[in-house]
């Protein structure tokens, strides 16, 4: 009898280990503070702020802005939590599921923000944007602000917008005898071959973080199918198995079959990809506006590529998209549902022209507030800003504009192309099947 009871208890204990990892936490619904908090002038306010700038200069810039704000408002305490990108996503998801929301936190807009807003976890800050005749709203570039709105309501604001482009090591290009960066996909493939012939690894990639490779595939879709193909698949009568998506996979396979990536790229992270490029071990890196600073930070000497250049992702002959169409996205701050007015005030402070100029000048981001682009001293950032400004069509990153289940599927499915375990048709069909269920 005792033995049976103990057996039962031991089995239940096993269950604990299996299930505690994934059981949703008990729903503790923290009631938002009720009533207006206008009275009590010197009421103590604590602002929880999560950001993902783990490295200087951004790390100390943000700290200084918080310190300055606290000095101006004696009743305000700002608690900063700095998290690494992936750790942030995990921690935020876990916390949101338990209903606790930081007052201000890193956001990329798009569907992630929309999901959080629909679940009632965010604060609609439109009234703050529209106050004083829309002074705060009008300070932003409208396209950038729109990334953080859902059904016309803003739940956050951007502080940086950028795009993915091709960064290249000019010295290695010279060594391979390439005098001008490629403008078309065919030229790009030719240059990859020239680099290989010269004994240089053409492209750095970190496919353990599958989004790094997904960018190349989705850029090809943007070049081949343009705005129409994406909108049809995501919102219209089309599908992710349409010809543009399959053809993008086929073009990508042409590249992959040339074996242009560094050895072991399937097991490499995004940081290792940046390190490979930063150490001069590969000639091209296809990455966002953060690449110049991240490749330097991850390189062995901390300086990175001495002679860095940038070109737009090449156009595909006969494609509906043009070479100036940009794929990108940016960083912003979402405002949690329990945020006090002081927290919104702080977000406003963070995105004023002075602070945006600091962000621009230190190379942390590309400013989204009019007038702050004057701070852009880094020629690389200016290149991105110009590329961004010239874009007629702006494609927000697939993993931000699409819901997480579809984004996850696209990342995992395109990884199969790089590992050469599926055909372009199979990959497109897998994505289309998941999209059809949504």
């Amino acid at each position: 009898m005792f033995k049976k009871i103990f057996t039962l208890i031991s089995l239940v204990l096993i269950a604990t280990f299996v299930l505690t990892a994934c059981g949703p936490a008990a729903e503790e619904v923290t009631e938002p503070p009720v009533g207006e908090e206008v009275e009590a002038e010197e009421e103590e306010v604590v602002i929880e702020w999560w950001h993902i700038s783990t490295k200087d200069p951004a790390l100390s810039d943000w700290q200084k802005m918080a310190d300055d704000f606290m000095a101006m408002h004696e009743n305000v305490t700002i608690n900063i939590t700095v998290l690494e990108n992936e750790a942030f996503k995990t921690k935020l998801n876990t916390d949101l599921q338990s209903g606790s929301v930081p007052d201000i936190f890193q956001s990329w807009g798009g569907s992630g923000l929309a999901e959080q807003a629909e679940a009632g976890l965010l604060l609609d800050i439109s009234e703050y944007l529209d106050a004083d005749g829309g002074a705060w709203r009008n300070s932003f570039a409208p396209g950038a602000l729109a990334v953080f709105s859902v059904d016309g309501k803003n739940y956050g604001v951007p502080w940086d917008m950028g795009m993915v482009s091709c960064w290249y090591n000019k010295d290695l290009f010279d060594q391979a005898g390439i005098d001008a960066p490629p403008e078309t996909w065919e030229e790009f493939l030719t240059d990859v071959q020239l680099l290989k012939d010269a004994g240089i690894t053409p492209i750095a990639l970190g496919e353990k973080d599958t989004w790094t490779g997904m960018h190349i595939w989705s850029y090809l879709v943007t070049r081949i199918g343009g705005e129409a193909a994406f909108n049809a698949a995501a919102y219209g009568s089309g599908s992710f198995a349409d010809p543009a998506f399959v053809q993008a996979g086929e073009e990508l396979m042409r590249l992959i079959e040339m074996e242009p990536f560094q050895p072991g790229f399937l097991g490499a992270t995004h940081d290792e990809m940046q390190a490979t490029f930063g150490n001069g071990e590969a000639a091209i890196l296809i990455g966002g506006q953060w690449s110049p600073s991240v490749q330097a930070a991850n390189s062995a000497d901390g300086v990175g590529v001495a002679n860095l250049g940038m070109f737009n992702f090449p156009a595909v002959e006969g494609g509906a998209g043009v070479v100036t169409d940009a794929m990108g996205g940016g960083n912003g701050f979402a405002v949690g549902k329990d945020a006090e007015p002081e927290a919104v005030e702080f977000v406003k402070y963070l995105t004023n022209v002075e602070n945006q100029t600091i962000i621009a000048a230190s190379g942390t981001g590309i400013p989204v507030v009019n007038g702050a682009e004057a701070g852009l001293t880094d020629p690389n950032m200016l290149l991105v800003q110009q590329g961004f400004a010239a874009a007629e069509y702006f494609q927000l990153y697939y993993d931000q504009i699409l819901p997480p289940v579809l984004a996850g599927t696209i990342n995992d499915a395109t990884a199969k192309l790089y590992a050469q375990t599926a055909t372009p048709e199979e990959v497109a069909q897998e994505i289309a099947n998941v999209a059809a269920e949504q």
Partner: protein
Amino acid sequence: MRHLNASKLNLQSDKSPTLRPRKKETLFIILFLLPALVLFLLFVIYPIFRSIFFSTFDWNGLGPATNNIGLGNYKKIFTDQVFLKSMLNVFIIIILSLGLQLPLALILSVLVGRDLPGRNLFRTMFFLPYVISEVNTAIMWTLLFNANPDRGLLNAVIVLLGFNPIGWLADSKIVLMSVFFVLTWKYFGFHMLLFLTGIQNIPLELEEAARIDGANGFQNFFFIILPLLSRTIRTSVYMSVLGSIQQFTIIWVMTGGGPVNASETMATYMYRYGIVRHQLGYGSAVAIIMFLFCLIFSLLYQRLTRKPDYLTGL
């Protein structure tokens, strides 16, 4: 896992009928158990039933779950090639653990158990990996396994010996073996310690008697130590299998289940499809399936290993 072991050891506790507590004592016992019981019900039993409940929903984890799809998640899981692949991987890890990791631990425990000079040093050395946290272990080995011979020690040695560098974590054909190597490195010390404790419980007289009768070292091992160690071995096998089914941290940090699901286990599958893709209902269903695997294994194992232990008669 240690708790598991403890509760299993309780199984063997004294169950003499003469020790029946009086009524007042019973009341006290219940009173003292109450706080733990409440916590247990709240944080163990309740979440289990919540998971079962959520596993019948198509739910992204934000807001209330409204779209009940019955057993739809389960149907999808068992038709998903990736899940079947992760089940196969778990099976491979179990077989390798039982076939390589445990015998290795057993041999070492016999070596460092009694005769070896400097055995304390070796014991500490072999047990050390188990003390290091799983994430540290994973990061350390990820660095050692780096595909670039300029950065990864293993490949640096291989290149020095004149061979081509190996993509330990990048080659889908060998990634599972690389990960299994790390799992072995991490856990053999723990099983070695279990065996060591077991060996120390074997009376020296038995071995001495056998030796007087002319038994050599091998006979000593196969006819004295191995049979008398059977209960420890059973515990070890049990924990090794359950540990393999639940293996997450090391694999997630080292490979993320990749490249392309080559090192996916059920636990990483659960995380990828449940948490990363915001499908909490689907993830809950995977958790329930893992739970059932553990449950069925435990029941079968209890039944199959009823044979009493030589030493204790249990």
